[in-house]
Every structure is written in C-alpha cells, then in structure tokens.
C-alpha cells in the first residue's frame, strides 16, 4: 500500500485533528466509553475485577461497522514479572489499542498472549503483541492456520476499515493443560472443547477468577459454527465444579456465581433438543428456522439471529439421523 510522505501525512493529521476536535470533545463528554468510529477508537477501558485482573468487555452485538468487531471480552492479568493477555480482539487496531490500555496500567512487559480459541473476535489483534508470546492449544493453532485467512476476509466485509492492515498471525507456542507460575502468578490452564475443537480456560487461583472463553456466554446467545454440543455441555459441567469466585464469559458481563454457566447449558440443551425434534418430525431446514425461541431465552441478545445460524450448523446432523443417512 502506498503511503503519503511524512510531511503531507502529518499536515493531514493536524487538519483532521482540527476538524474532528469538536466532535471528539462532544463524544468524550457524552460517554466515557464512546467508540468513535471516525477515529477508529474502540474506547477500550480495562475494568479491574480483582487484584491485578482486568477485563475489557465487548458489546453484546454482532460484528458491525459501528462496533468495529468489539463484541468479545478480552482481559489481562498483571503478575509480578509481567502481563498475561487473554485474547487479542478482532483487529490489528483492537490489539494496538489494547496494548496502550495495558500500558496505562502497568509498565511490565507482556510475557504470555493467549488465544482461547480460533474464532476471529479472539485472535485477530495478535499483530500488536510480541510474536514469541503468542500461544494457544494445538487444535486452536491448527484452526487459525486453516480458517484464519477466511475469517479475516470476512471481517473486512463485516466491519470495514476498522480492519485496516489486519493480518493473521498464527501463535507458535503450543499450550497444554496444567498449573504453573506465569509472571509470578499462580495460573492454571484447562484444555476443554465443544464451542470449538479446542477451548482454553484460564484460572487465576489467587483471585479465584475463571476466564471461561466462549464456553460461557452471559445474556447473549451462544454461537455454534464449530460446536460439538454434548462436548460443550460436558465442559460446562466440569467448570461448574470449580471453586470460582467470579466468571469472565467470552461474551457478556462478568458474573460472581454460576448463573451464566447454567444459562449457557440450558440454551444449548434447548437448541439441540429443538433441532432433533424438528428433524424427527419431518420439518424442512427452512421450516426449522422459523420455529420460535423458547420464552426463557428471548431476553438473550441476538437470540433470533443466532438460532437461525445454529439451524444451519446443527440441523444437518439431526436430519441425517432422522433420515437414517450416514
């Protein structure tokens, strides 16, 4: 891509800043967290949820040019010797702005950058982090290698120029389950799956905080493009046994008790039973899409949209079973 000469560029920026100043000021006064799409500013403000534990909560929305793809939760844990980053957001800009946000809180270096799974809202900010800190479960690495390019292309289509210069960076450090000191912090990794082939859960034992990745949604309908529902429900059952003091879901608000786990499991259970019943009663896929969402889930953000997507993901298997076709 051609770049402007530095003089021309800086003049343009001065001019731009001059023109945008009143707007920025108005927005800043209006909302502390304003995402300013003109300046491609996600307005990231880390919220401390425990000693040394921070969350950047995404919106309970689908990808759009208005939100720039800031739809998932990311977070970081500040240890004595460095920072552990959990997911990098949906774009290069997000990753860069996340690093700036971290630097405002601690001068310590990022020593470990985790991608919890291979969905684009969780790893496309990787470019902003030191390459040798990028780490994930082996199946997540394989997923990013196989599908990262297509995800990236699709996000340019969905959120537009927020994605500028975003490229896929595949993490090279292969993580395994286990408990160890990371940056002086007592961290345990759980290698689970079900939302995707590999979903990594990060436990900070000192604070009792569980970063549950997209195995847990809170107030937002779960997404299923790579889901294995029985495995996912097993993973949630395993999480429920943890002595956690607070839960950071992949999407939706941080919660002190296991209500988001119950909610996610109840929705997945309803979803799979609904689609099996639809296939078993001879409905066509287009008809299955028009079935109503059960009343108790109608308050979940995006539930109508996610239900219809899930029909496409999950109905074919239910249908093959009903038709006795392998």
């Amino acid at each position: 891509m051609k770049r402007l000469g530095s003089t021309a560029r800086s003049w343009r920026y001065v001019l731009l800043a001059f023109m945008l100043a009143p707007l920025l000021l108005a927005l800043a006064l209006d909302r502390a967290h304003a995402r300013d799409s003109a300046a491609f500013d996600y307005g990231l403000v880390p919220r401390q949820i425990a000693d040394g534990v921070y969350v950047l909560e995404g919106r309970k929305e689908d990808f759009s040019t208005a939100n720039g793809g800031d739809i998932a939760n990311t977070g970081f844990i500040v240890g004595t010797a460095g920072v552990i980053v959990i997911d990098t957001g949906s774009s290069r800009r997000y990753g860069e702005q996340m690093r700036v946000a971290i630097a405002r809180i601690t001068p310590l270096p990022v020593v470990l950058t985790i991608n919890t799974h291979h969905h684009p809202d969780h790893f496309l900010g990787n470019q902003a982090f030191p390459p040798d800190t990028l780490a994930a479960l082996p199946a997540t690495i394989a997923g990013i290698e196989a599908e990262g390019g297509a995800f990236n292309d699709n996000l340019y289509r969905l959120v537009g120029d927020w994605m500028r210069d975003t490229e896929v960076v595949v993490p090279r450090r292969r993580l395994a389950a286990g408990r160890q000191l990371v940056a002086g912090r007592d961290i345990e990794l759980l290698a689970l799956g079900g939302h995707t082939a590999a979903d990594l859960v990060v436990i900070d034992h000192v604070s009792g905080t569980v970063f549950a990745a997209d195995l847990v949604f809170n107030g937002r309908a779960p997404t299923t493009p790579h889901a294995d529902i029985p495995r996912w429900m097993e993973a949630i059952a395993q999480l429920e046994r943890l002595p956690a003091r607070r839960w950071v879901p992949g999407h939706g608000a941080v919660h002190e008790d296991t209500e988001p786990l119950r909610q996610t499991r109840a929705y997945l259970d309803w979803l799979s039973r609904t689609l099996q019943a639809a296939a078993e009663s001879g409905l066509d896929m287009a008809e299955a899409m028009t079935l109503p969402v059960a009343a108790e889930f109608r308050t979940l953000a995006l539930v109508e949209h996610e239900y219809r997507r899930s029909v496409v993901h999950l109905f074919p298997a239910a249908e093959r079973a009903a038709l006795g076709s392998r």
Partner: protein, 273 residues
C-alpha cells in the same frame, strides 16, 4: 411448504410449547416483503436482473407477482453452500410446474418440479455465489406464471468452490445412496424427505467438471409418478429434498425414488412407510 397442524403439534409437544405460539411462525419466517396479490408490473424484489430472467424463462407468457406462492428462505445465508429454501404454491390450486432460480447465480436455474399428482410444496438447499433474489415461479393450467421470492444476502462463493466430496474418495463408494423417510400427516398430506449422496459439482471450480443429479421421480406403490424433478448445478452437495405428497400415499406399498445424474449413474431406492 407449511407443515399441517399435526406436525406442529408433534414438535410443540416435544418442546413443551403452546401450539398457539407456534402457529404464526411460518408466515413470519417468510422473509420477502409480501407483494400484493396479482401485481402485474414491477419486480417487488427490485432486481436489476429481472428483465433478463423474464426473457429467459417466460418469454411472452403472462407473469404475475403473487403472494400465494410462498418462498421461505433466510434473510442472510450462514452457509452459502447450503441455503435452505421452502416453497409452497398450494394456494394457487393446480400447478403444472414450479421453477426455482436465483437471479445472480452464475448458473441461474436450480430446480424444476412437476407436481404431477402431489401438492405443489417442496424444499431444497442451494448454493449461492453472491447475494441474490431466490425465486419460485409456478405455472398454472392457464399458462400464467406466478412468482414469489426473497432476497438472500450472502458472503458468497458457493458455486465456484469444489465440493467437499471431490476431496475425498468416500462419495465414490456411496454415490447416489439414498436416505429417505415418509412422515404421514406432515405438510399438505404426507411428507417425503430424502438425502442423496452426490458431490453436485457445478463445473465452475477449476479442473472439476460439472457432475450433478439431473432427474428425480417419485412414484407410489402402484407405479404412478407423483412428482418429477429436474435438478441443476446450484443444488447443494449431498442434496436434501422435502416433497409433500398426497395423504395416505404409503397405503399402496413402498414409494419408489428413481433418477440419474449427468454421467448416467442411476438413483433407485424404495421408501417403506
């Protein structure tokens, strides 16, 4: 294709839902902006391809946009290789044939169905190369074509990708294998659903020639042909079809599904009620 109330009751009972709540949903899921009945003029889907479509398929025959032909399709295609479409033209009375096509697909025509002795209601999945109107045109006995349709948005690429089957040897052992089942009392009578193992290659992926099912026939136990269908490249890989058949159709013995692909491979299966 509206499931009759017994089908809904089955589903609803299984889900523990009140049937009353379920009833409006097929109508609500019809995503097209409903055109007023028998509107002769402008395309309600406002497609720049409409004049071409009209010339290609209908020539000088009378054409009306008619909300008595319902096309149920998602507003947005989650998977451009598998866009589910259900068509119900039974409100038109006797229908001679129904044509399903997508204006902006590189191969426009997807399926042609003659409901010889069956209600004009069926479902399929198709591949979309880009966002497009998906339309169904039903020809009634007087020669008039009645059109329904819906826009489907998609990220696209559905027609120029190789089939998944072309990358594995499995389909060679299972080509034209049929999984099928008849559901009494579903849809406008009894519903037949079937899945056929076939790569359905469009010929638009480099180095992979067109290879697709061309004809399908469904006959009752007495050998009477109920539905005849002609399939084209945009029908999805390992196609799944729904066909509504007259109530009690299984009484005369097993249904017979016969057909062939463009390489002459035969499809032949029986469905016991």
């Amino acid at each position: 294709m509206k499931p009759a109330h017994p089908a809904r009751r089955t589903v609803c009972a299984a889900l523990g839902l009140a049937c009353a709540a379920a009833l409006p949903f097929v109508a609500a899921g019809r995503v097209l902006a409903a055109a007023p009945a028998l509107q002769p003029g402008a395309d309600p889907l406002d497609s720049s391809r409409w004049d071409d479509m009209r010339r290609a398929f209908f020539a000088d025959a009378p054409v009306v946009f008619d909300d008595r032909i319902a096309v149920t399709a998602p507003f947005s295609a989650e998977d451009p290789l598998n866009v589910p479409v259900a068509i119900d033209a039974t409100a038109l009375g006797a229908v001679r044939e129904v044509l399903v096509f997508a204006d902006f697909n590189p191969i426009v025509k997807a399926l042609r169905v003659e409901p010889l002795a069956a209600p004009a209601a069926f479902g399929l999945r198709l591949k979309l190369q880009q966002s497009s109107p998906v339309r169904a045109a039903a020809r009634t006995a007087d020669g008039t074509w009645h059109l329904g349709g819906a826009w489907v948005r998609t990220s696209g690429g559905g027609c120029t990708l190789p089939s998944l089957g072309s990358g594995s040897a499995e389909w060679q052992q299972r080509l034209n294998e049929v999984g099928a089942r008849l559901w009494p009392g579903v849809g406008h009578g009894d519903r037949l659903r079937l899945r056929i193992v076939h790569p359905m290659d469009t010929g638009l992926a480099p180095g992979i020639p067109a290879f697709h099912i061309e004809t399908l026939e469904i006959a009752d136990g007495a050998g009477r042909v109920l539905v005849r269908a002609e399939a084209f490249e945009p029908v999805s890989e390992n196609p799944v079809f729904s066909f509504d058949l007259p109530a009690g159709i299984g009484a005369a013995g097993p249904l017979r599904i016969r057909g062939r692909d463009n390489n002459g491979n035969l499809i032949d299966a029986e469905v016991r009620p």
